[in-house]
């Protein structure tokens, strides 16, 4: 079951990242490309590329059978799904197993269990990990009212079939319950075909904290510390940091242990991330969900631990035991990641595909850029707008932020618009530098930014 040739079942910067990790381990790579990605950097770097279909991802990167056939047909013994696309689809993990292809990720069972929001909540409770106070099911406005009194206002009414921030209603007091419940149920029925609602306490002053875990095939599970991903725009992370600087040492220790315990309780394998909501006011943390894949923001954890997480994924998939124990994992300094998207901040952040005529990446101490872009690259309109990730390490948060500011200032991209100007205003904001932020802070900042542009 050793891994000798990997099919990279993804595109963009993560495909490049996987190819580089494979190369560092002497593993051959075949990268799957859609017709639009034939000339991609991943296709150039891989030992071979194979075209799996037309540009539309439903006809290429989202086709389980094409990817498995590509792996078998090119003699790969493993498949890395990256993130997005099919990364959290249990049927891909299962199809790989059926064809003797090692899936570089968790088991199909792991994915299935954690993919169901209510099931994941039950697993967390069983493992003794706190979940947001709330209910599994609020059946009618009357029941919802009673639950809300029990939980304490304000509360969130959520559609069980929703996700990614959709199907969520905020209720401030009892007078709103009746109307909001009926509206939410009707909307959920229309949008998701399922009007099951559940209720959660609303944490107004919250941070998004997540823990990176690694589990091998021999039952060893470790965590690699936390990341603070509170700066989000429409539930998309924009700037991430490691470690989570707002937590006290006691809370840090507790949240890391909770994540490892949860992963251990389901026999979790490979890399995964457990997301928590952290209440700035009460210092409580609650389990939100688990992402059963490598994440976009994994490099900030690599920068402070010195561990190559993608390489570990490949080694774990190949059957090797983790080369470190929890006590061996040391944290050094602070890392910040900025997501560089092809978007136009001056036009409401609309996506901005097209030809990159000039691409001058920043360099310097502690600066790392994970990207698939180069001068002359045409950003195709079919996929997400991520151009790359600027990852900066410093001895402390202050130094990391200062280096990030310099790197953003030196980053020159022409031909298309990018989010760099907006990122620069965030990274130099006094409130941001004081660390005085929560999950709603960036939205407020965006309004100010838009107002300043229109003024």
């Amino acid at each position: 079951m050793s891994v000798t040739r990997v099919l990279v079942a993804n595109r963009g910067e993560i495909a490049v990242r996987i190819i580089k990790a494979c190369r560092s381990l002497g593993i051959e790579t075949v990268t799957a490309v859609s017709e639009a990605d034939r000339g991609s950097l991943a296709a150039k770097l891989a030992d071979r590329s194979i075209c799996i279909g037309p540009p539309r991802s439903t006809d290429s990167y989202l086709k389980v059978e094409s990817l498995v056939a590509a792996a078998v047909g090119t003699g790969c013994d493993a498949l890395h799904p990256g993130y997005g696309f099919l990364a959290e689809r249990a049927d891909l993990a299962r199809a790989c197993a059926d064809h003797n292809i090692t899936f570089v990720g968790p088991t199909a069972e792991n994915i299935k269990k954690m993919g169901d929001k209510l099931e994941a909540r039950r697993i967390a409770t069983a493992a003794g990990v706190p979940t947001v106070p709330g209910s599994d099911h609020a059946k009618n406005p009357h029941e919802a009212g009673a639950l809300a009194e029990e939980i304490g206002y304000p509360v969130l009414l959520k559609a069980s079939a929703g996700g990614g921030g959709r199907g969520i209603k905020l209720i401030w007091n009892g007078s709103e319950i009746e109307t909001t419940f009926r509206t939410a149920a009707a909307e959920a029925r229309a949008a998701f075909g399922d009007d099951t609602l559940y209720m959660e306490r609303y944490v107004g002053n919250a941070r998004h904290i997540e823990i990176q875990v690694l589990g091998d095939l021999h039952g060893n599970v470790v965590h690699l510390g936390e990341r603070d991903c509170s700066l989000q725009r429409r539930h998309q992370k924009i700037i991430e940091e490691a470690p989570a600087y707002a937590l006290s040492p006691a809370v840090r220790a507790k949240i890391g242990e909770a994540a490892a315990t949860l992963a251990r309780s389901i026999g979790y394998r490979n890399a995964g991330t457990i997301e928590f909501i952290y209440d700035n006011d009460t210092e409580e943390f609650f389990f939100l969900e688990m992402n059963t894949r490598i994440q976009v923001e994994h490099p900030i954890t690599e920068m402070i631990t010195g561990i190559d997480i993608v390489a570990q994924q490949l080694l774990i998939a190949g059957g090797q035991a983790l080369p470190f124990k929890q006590a061996d994992i040391a944290f050094s300094g602070h890392a910040i990641e900025c997501r560089i998207n092809a978007e136009s901040p001056q036009h409401g952040f609309r996506p901005c595909p097209g030809l990159i005529t000039h691409w001058e990446a920043p360099e310097g101490n502690g600066v790392r850029l994970d990207t698939h872009c180069f001068p002359g690259y045409v950003v195709p309109p079919y996929y997400d707008s991520l151009l790359g990730k600027l990852i900066v390490h410093g001895a402390d948060r202050h130094q990391a932020a200062a280096r990030t500011e310099n790197a953003l200032a030196a980053f020159r991209v022409e031909g298309i618009d990018t989010g760099i100007p907006f990122l620069h205003t965030v990274i130099t904001d006094p409130e941001y530098l004081r660390g005085n932020v929560n999950t709603r802070w960036l939205e407020k900042k965006l309004e100010q930014y838009a107002a300043a542009i229109n003024a």
């Binding site: 034939r38 030992d47 071979r48 194979i50 075209c51 094409s66 056939a69 047909g73 090119t74």
Partner: protein, 166 residues
């Protein structure tokens, strides 16, 4: 290691007298490639990379297939396409990735061969993905002038299977 002109001439003579069409010698930084036929294609991969992997034999669950070489599509495609364009031929391309079969079942006559007349709806082959066989239509009216892909070959999306003279 240094090679004199005399050494090179000697090597060329040995190759010329041998049955081999192609010879490549690499000693340290020194690299000699000799071919009796067409010019040797330059590999597009960076020199630090291991050679492009050839296909492993298919997984044991698959039916036995002719030992088709790995398709190195990126390098062959321009040649076939250039020929098609120059001679006014229309390529019939693989509508999906998978294993290409020229006949409905092993031992049966092929769907088409050189000289066969085809219309838009003529089935010219099958492509198997995960045990599901998909028929390939010609999508052009004319005569098959070249069979480009091999039976049992693993083809990628958009790979040229046949050339048809409309």
């Amino acid at each position: 290691m240094e090679l004199s002109e005399e050494d090179v001439l000697h090597i060329l003579k040995l190759i010329d007298e041998s049955k081999f069409d192609y010879f490549q010698l690499e000693v340290g930084d020194l690299k000699i490639s000799v071919s009796k036929g067409e010019p040797i294609p330059l590999t597009s991969a960076p020199s630090s990379v291991s050679p492009a992997p050839a296909a492993r034999p298919a997984a044991p669950v698959e039916p036995p297939k002719p030992a088709a070489a790995a398709p190195v599509m990126q390098k062959e495609a321009p040649k076939v396409e250039a020929k098609a364009a120059a001679e006014g031929l229309v390529p019939v391309k693989a509508p999906l990735l998978g294993t290409f079969y020229m006949a409905p079942e092993p031992g049966a006559p092929p769907f088409v061969q050189v000289g066969s007349a085809v219309t838009e709806d003529t089935t010219v082959g099958l492509i198997e993905v995960m045990k599901v066989f998909n028929s390939v239509r010609a999508a052009v009216k004319g005569t098959v002038v070249e069979v480009v892909a091999q039976n049992g070959q693993f083809v990628e999306y958009g790979q040229t299977l046949y050339l048809v003279k409309p």
